[in-house]
Each structure stands twice: as C-alpha cells, then as structure tokens.
Symmetry: C2
Subunit: 381 residues, 2 copies
C-alpha cells in the first residue's frame, strides 16, 4: 500500500504532543522534508529545488498547520492537514516569514517556547536572515531546541514504515542479484553505476537518490567518490552501495564482488566482515545499545585486521538514507523494537578497504534481516 | 571533460575575495553542497546522508580551507584544496564545531566579519545548537550575511560550466525523444516515470535527482505530485519534467505529449506556451531583466488564457536544479552573458494546466537554446 492511514499521522502527532507537554514546548516548527513528511505524508521530489521554504507547525493540540508556498497547496490538501496557509513564493520582500510569524503568534501564547530540531543530523531549511527576522517577530516567544522529540519519534518505526523499508530492500536485493548482467572484466565502472541504477528502477524503485561504491585491485580506497570510467579488471573488488527509495522510504545496503577469483587475503577479510555483521545481528536485541553493536563488530574486526577508520559501523535508516542512532563507541542509545539499523563493518586490506552492509529490524525477540542475508564467501563475477 | 582545471577554482576564489574585500568580509563560511563544490570541485553523492556537517572557509587571500569529516579527506585531497582539517564524525560531544571555531579564529582577525550566505534560496547546513555554539566561540568576530557574493558569482557561468549544462540538456533531449517507446495508452504513469529515468541513465545521465510531471484529461492539476499508477488514456496530456545531472550540473526542462489526438483547446494552449517562451527567448539579451522576461511571457499568456498562478515563469539553473534569478515581476536582476535560464510558462486550460520549459544561455548577442527547441504543435503518442 502506498501512503499511510491518517491514524498513523494522528498517532505520530499525539506522541509528539505528549512529549512537547512534558518538555514545556508549546509548538514545534519544522522546516525539512522528512520532518514535514513525518507528520503529514506530504511526498514530492520538488524539495530538490532550493528556492522555496516550507513550514509545518505542530501545535500543543490538534492537527499540524502548514505554512507553505501556494504551489504546494493542492498536494498538501490531499493529506490529513486541514489548516493550510499559503503565500506566493518566491517573494523577494517576505518569503513566508510574515505569515509564519503571524501563525506562530496565533497558535502559541506569549512567552511560549517554540521547539525546532537543533541537534545532530538536523538543520533549519530557511535562510539565516529570515530565521533572524522570525526570532525578532516572535517577541517574547523563544525559539529553542525540540528536546530530541523528532529524533526519538522517528527512530522507532511503525509496522507500516518497516514494511516500506522492506519493500525498498527487496527491490535492491533483486537489482544486486542481477549485477553479473552488467558488471565484469572490461566494463567501465561509471557504466556499471549507470546500469545498476537502471536495474534498481526496473525492479521497482521510485527513484535512486544514492549510489556509491568503488572497484580497485584487492579492495577500494574510498566509498564516497563518483565512479570513474576505468574498466574493471581481474583482482578488482567491486562494491555497490545503494539507497533507493520506495514510497518515501530508503534501503541502504551494499554488495561486493570479486572480478575473477579473489586472493586469499581478500576472501579472509570479506569473511571477517560477514562474521562481524552476523555477530552484531545476534546481539541486536532490545536492551543492547548502539555502542554495544559497534564494540561487537570492532572486536571481530580487530581480531582480524582492524577497522578502516570510517568512524562508525552502522546507523539508523528510514525516511532518510542515514538516521539516528550511530553505531559508534559513544552512542548509548538503547535498542527498541521497531528500530531499523544498518550493520556496516569495514576492514583494511593492505592499503585498501572492504565494506559490507546489511539492514535489520529490531523486534521483541531475535532481530530480522530485511536485506537478503549473504554468506561468508565473496562472490566472483 | 570531467571536472575543471584548477584555474577555474582559482578564478572563482579570487573573484569572491575581491567582493569580500569590498564588503568588509574577512572570510566566508560555507556549509552546503553546491557552495562547497563551487570553490573546490568536491563532488560526491554522500551529501544524501544528513549525518555529517561539512565546512569550507574562503579566507581573505589564498586557497579555501576545508574543515570536514575524516571520511571525506581522501576525496578532498584530490581537489586543489591544500589545507584540509578533519575530525572523526559523527562526534556526539563536538561535531566539528571546536575545530571550525579554532580555524576561523586563526584565519580571521579579532572583530572580523565572517560572511555566510543568508539570503533567498540559502540555508545553513549545520544544527542550530552547533551554530549557536559557533557564534559564542567566535567572541568579537561576527557572523553576518555574505552580501550576495555567492549568488552573484554562481549566477554567471563560465564556458566550462555551460558546456556541462549543455551535456545534461542533450542527454535529456535524447531521453525525451525516446518517450514514445515507453509511454502510450494503457501504460501506467508511475511505470512511465520509472522507464523515463532509465532512459535518462541509458542516454548518459550520472543520476536523476529530479523527475516530476503529470497526465490527466486535457492537462494536469499539479506538477509536483509523485506519479500514481493510473493508466494513460486518450485525451490525457502527459508532461515529464526532469532535472538530470551530468558531472554535477543540471538540466531542467520538460516535454508534453497528447495521448491520441488533442482537442483544439489543448493545442491552442500549447501553441501559446511555445509562443510565450519563444518571445521571451528573443528578448533574453544583456540589459533585459528577469522581470522583463516574466512580463513578456505573461503578456502572451494573458492574451490567451491567463497564467497558472505558479508564481514564476522560469529561473536560473546550474549546480542546483533551480538557482537565481527568478522570472517574477519583482526580480530586477539584469541579464548578463553566461547566465543560464529556464523559460517556464504555464497556462490554464479549464480546470487543468499545461507547463512548458526550455533552457537557454545568455550571450553577448542573441541567446542560445541549449534544450532542443520545439515547434508549436503538441506531439501525439
């Protein structure tokens, strides 16, 4: 099913409002795509354009209030949001700030605290000059952080959200299965990237916001560079890591292939990666922490060759390619049923690295792989 | 050619530094993907992850200084930037703010003004809490706007930039030519979207960050909704509007097709759109303003059926899908050689709308179409 029942948005809103009440926050002000979509279901690729700001207010009670460019009114009217206030954007004199100020003053009392997500992985998607004007216009009302409300809410997914992430994962799984059709000795890496995105679409992705990877002798140097036109050759290890989207939800996992038979060193390193993610998987139960999963993987990797210095070995996943928590030594987030995580161990092989990534769901009992689980043998093309 | 000669980045930096000197700005602080890429060539899809902040400082003289997560160091080292300072991100205690503060204090004197792009179409890509800590840490140095320096610089493209946009346009042109292979009566719109993205990739796109469109009887209601699974039927007008990327530069234009023969009303409306963009094209010469192009198109549309209320009839284009200026009545930006614009007239047809879009370059003399120019007859599939 595309979209969600409106009860899903109602529950999310009520949950936020309970937390707002506890934190003494009268209203939440949201400005980014996933934050606004989380409470409304407002889904459009139009966010690619940086021109127009968009605002959503979660009041202390009742439905969210949208303050948005008129170009988005028709689509927003298809959501459960009733109160939609618009201006004709872009307006070079006042690009929605006046309307937003007015709305916030109407919705929240004098001296109210208005919360804005302000912690890690957040930003405010409006011009700084406009943000400063907004602050001035609110008088005795203050703009503070959101006490981590958005982070906490989005971190635990509903069954309907998990089902969308699973759909994205199975699309990617089918695309990865077909990689031997498009990759092999002599094929240029940039052409493999292009063809892999086509496979993702053909298998059902709505769009493919993220593809990274690499292919070099016995590993790769880097996992964030764009693909070059170098042809694949024997002893290369090819890695493709995709975040494709289905109905607004991401998968994020990778696969590795050796071009021709791999060296013993590479095969051992790859097997250590699988051992690391499998061991973390076994431990990924309610009560364990993000840091625990890091340590478990890091122990396996250290027994073998040491990690890659990438800084984290996995993260949350959902409406964004990467979400809270981070699998790092200092993130003590306690795992709860409904969290969706990536397990992403990396290992050094000489000057090169190998990285493996799986997606899992935390449940009441044993976790569940939602990316197709792979064995310890590096496949060859 | 992929990338740019380093002289291109040197020129951009020197141009910024001259403007900074005039405006009394000691350093620019940049936080978003296109801003950082503009001065460095740092190109990666890794920005899709909201986890890590990235910073680039343009000092009063000399090369830019990068303050970035260590995961990006190897790729940044391939650019012309020499001074690359890194921290292991994410760091839940100090996610680069200390290192950034230290670097800004080293680079800019006491009481210095540090400029940050703060006007329309900008935002600061770092958490608000971190931004506030940065402000506190800078002591007597102040964070002000950038006097529109980034806007002015990016608005006028170099020949090398224009050539990349032209490449993107010709890839999209070839994909649009092949739409009859994938669209027609009975084909579901979401499948047409998927297949069109595959065509863009097959024709050479690096990735397809943007696709919008619509297909309804005699026009469409909206140009920002995701595609539904409704099958195309006779009298539908199908529109596809894509922003695909080649080497970091976008095209942004659309095409319309009638499914079966179109009504006289639709054909007339479509011809009026082409007349509007052609008339604006003729006038798009140095000295004319963005507002002039709006008025010219609006006059043609008003003589016919009136515009769609979309608010603007075109915009700049380059490293982002939409850039300055805006073709609206109040944007008096004077056209200069090197600007790349979209002409995007929209027209009402009963309850529906039609939108047409072309991409052009402003030159010393007559402008040049970089999207394949189309005639006044709506093609049928």
């Amino acid at each position: 099913m595309r979209g969600f029942d409106s009860t899903e948005f109602q529950l999310r809103t009520e949950r936020a409002q309970r937390r707002m009440d506890e934190a003494g926050i009268s209203a939440l002000l949201l400005t980014t795509e996933p934050e606004i979509r989380y409470f409304t279901g407002y889904l459009t690729r139009f966010w690619e354009s940086p021109t127009r700001p968009w605002f959503l207010i979660i009041p202390a009670t009742g439905k969210p209030v949208a303050v948005i460019p008129s170009i988005g009114a028709a689509l927003m009217a298809q959501t459960w949001v009733g109160d939609i206030r618009t201006w004709s954007a872009p307006d070079l004199t006042d690009d929605g700030v006046g309307l937003l100020t007015e709305t916030l003053c109407e919705i929240s009392p004098m001296d109210a605290v208005i919360g804005i997500p302000d912690g890690h992985e957040t930003h405010i998607r409006m011009p700084l000059a406009d943000f400063r004007r907004l602050q001035d216009g609110l008088g005795s009302r203050s703009l503070s952080g959101d006490s981590g409300i958005l982070r906490d809410l989005r971190m635990v997914k509903s069954p309907a959200e998990i089902s969308k992430i699973e759909t994205a994962c199975s699309i990617a799984g089918r695309a990865f299965d077909r990689v031997p059709e498009i990759a092999g000795e002599g094929k240029a890496l940039d052409e493999v990237f292009r063809r892999f995105q086509m496979l993702c679409l053909e298998e059902g992705a709505d769009w493919v916001p993220y593809l990274a990877g690499g292919a070099e002798q016995g590993g790769y140097s880097d996992v964030i560079s764009p693909a070059r036109s170098t042809a694949l050759k024997p002893d290369d290890v090819l890695m493709l890591d995709t975040g494709l989207v289905w109905d607004g939800y991401f998968c994020d996992f990778d696969r590795n292939w050796s071009i021709g038979p791999a060296s013993l060193e590479v095969r051992d390193a790859y097997a250590a990666l699988i051992e690391a993610s499998d061991t973390a998987f076994e431990a990924a139960r309610p009560g364990a922490t993000a840091a625990d999963l890091f340590q478990i993987m890091n122990n396996v990797l250290s027994r073998n060759r040491g990690d890659t210095g990438a800084g984290r070995l996995g993260h949350g996943l959902g409406m964004s390619l990467t979400e809270w928590p981070s699998l790092i030594p200092t993130d003590h987030t306690v795992l709860e049923p409904g969290m969706v995580l990536t397990l992403e161990p990396g290992i050094a092989v000489g000057e090169k690295i190998l990285v493996h990534e799986e997606n899992i769901v935390i449940t009441e009992g044993a976790p569940r792989f939602i990316s197709p689980r792979v064995g310890p043998e590096l496949p060859a093309i």
